[in-house]
């Protein structure tokens, strides 16, 4: 831009200048950008190691200009533990979807939190398996129609939507757990602050920090980008309230 202009908002440097494969209106891109902004602001790009999980988010190594390890499905917190134990001074984060973190990877996330690993976990909850084509996720809402709950999720036989931010907050090893959303400009700004904080805590060696982000999957929800965005406040937030469920960042470590 010309010298006569002040930059108010630009794509963060920690993101590569390439278009993503995400569907139109998918919030993964938004969450990617917020993570990248946090890395830019805290000047962590050079020392950050990302752990990619399985699902739509697996391709984050195509978009983040940082070192990345790809983990098997659900195992990102275990892989992150290995990386962090070798490089305790690096910033290690996992980026996981709901199937990855809250179904197949339940054991790994609970035990990484319980050990109080110095990790930042970004958990994108869009109530469905995106990449495999819209199957039920552990966070799918009661009655939600998915390709494997064609008659709607039956809470009696298919289980209940699982609230990971609250659940992990119960563990002694968890130092920070919050749920945010990216469905409106002010909430995106708030989500950015929380993600920033979760990385800042790791920088300060403050322990396990977990951020759940409510996000839209227009394609698999069968909604337009705008209607999908709307569903977050209308249907998801009553089940998944926003808020901070644990914050020990002020406590002495």
């Amino acid at each position: 831009m010309a010298d006569s202009m002040i930059t108010v908002f630009e794509r963060p440097h920690s993101l590569k200048p390439v278009p993503s494969h995400f569907c139109s209106g998918c919030h993964h891109g938004t969450v990617h950008r917020l993570v990248a902004e946090a890395l830019d602001q805290l000047e962590l790009q050079q020392q950050t190691i990302g752990i990619a999980s399985v699902g739509c988010s697996v391709l984050l190594y195509e978009y983040f200009d940082i070192d990345v390890v790809e983990a098997p499905h659900g195992r990102a917190p275990a892989v992150a533990t290995g990386v962090k134990r070798v490089h305790p001074d690096s910033i290690v984060f996992t980026y996981q979807g709901d199937g990855d973190l809250a179904a197949i990877g339940t054991a790994e996330i609970i035990h990484a939190a319980n050990r109080g690993e110095h990790l930042t976990v970004i958990f994108v909850n869009n109530t469905t398996y995106g990449m495999t084509g819209g199957q039920m996720a552990p966070t799918s809402l009661g009655g939600q129609v998915t390709t494997t709950t064609p008659y709607g999720r039956d809470l009696e036989t298919d289980g209940n939507p699982i609230r990971m931010a609250e659940l992990l907050a119960l563990l002694d090893g968890t130092h920070f757990s919050a749920r945010v959303s990216v469905d409106a400009p002010r909430r995106v700004a708030q989500a950015g602050k929380v993600i920033h904080k979760a990385f800042e805590m790791q920088k300060n060696r403050a322990g396990f920090a977990f951020v759940e982000v409510l996000a839209a999957c227009p394609t698999n929800w069968g909604l337009s980008a705008l209607d999908a965005n709307e569903r977050i406040s209308q249907e998801m937030m009553p089940c998944f309230p926003l808020g901070t469920f644990k914050d020990l960042s002020g406590a002495q470590g």
Partner: protein, 185 residues
């Protein structure tokens, strides 16, 4: 081989969301309903939108061997990337219809095949929805190579289209007709 026996292959490619798989499926289903053998072999990237989408359809009187076709005889190309990648693979003597609304064909010249520019997006928009470009292309193909009767395809459409989208059938039929008459003219 008995020369009266039919064995036709169709390859189509574009990006996800252009309805490539839908028309491939439709064509194969229409062939099955018409009493022929058919195979439909889709291929697509892991992402649901964007990315490349392609499929091969084989319609034959006898048993079908490979659903994979190396040098297809009938080719529908719906975007520039598909043109670059698959135009050179059209079998000599074959037929290639390309979506000239999205494809700049300069730099893609072959004298050993029949190439036909179909402004599919434009025609589809005239019908009322740019998403019908796939149907325009299929209609155009059937005008040039009646491997299945247009009527059979129209009947199959009623079964292929899911219940919630039935209201779009008239527009789909119109798009098929517009493509057909464009390629006939």
């Amino acid at each position: 081989m008995d020369n009266n026996k039919m064995n036709e292959d169709v390859f189509m490619a574009g990006f996800g969301g252009q309805g490539i798989l839908l028309v491939g499926n439709l064509l194969a289903y229409a062939a099955i309903e018409a009493g022929k053998n058919a195979s439909f072999f889709p291929a697509y990237g892991p992402e649901k939108r964007g990315g490349a989408a392609m499929c091969s359809v084989i319609v034959a009187d006898q048993e079908i061997g490979s659903p994979v076709v190396g040098r297809p005889s009938n080719v529908l190309l719906l975007n520039q990337d598909a043109m670059a990648k698959y135009y050179p693979r059209v079998r000599p003597g074959g037929l290639c219809l390309y979506n000239s609304s999205l494809i700049d064909a300069s730099g893609h010249q072959r004298s050993d095949i029949c190439s036909l520019a179909i402004p599919a997006n434009q025609i589809a928009t005239e019908v009322g929805n740019v998403k019908l470009a796939n149907m325009v292309m299929l209609g155009a193909l059937l005008a040039r190579n009646p491997l299945v009767q247009l009527e059979s395809v129209k009947q199959a459409l009623d079964i292929i289209i899911p219940e919630r989208n039935k209201r779009f059938i008239p527009a789909n039929l119109q798009a098929l007709d517009r493509g057909f008459s464009f390629a006939t003219a």
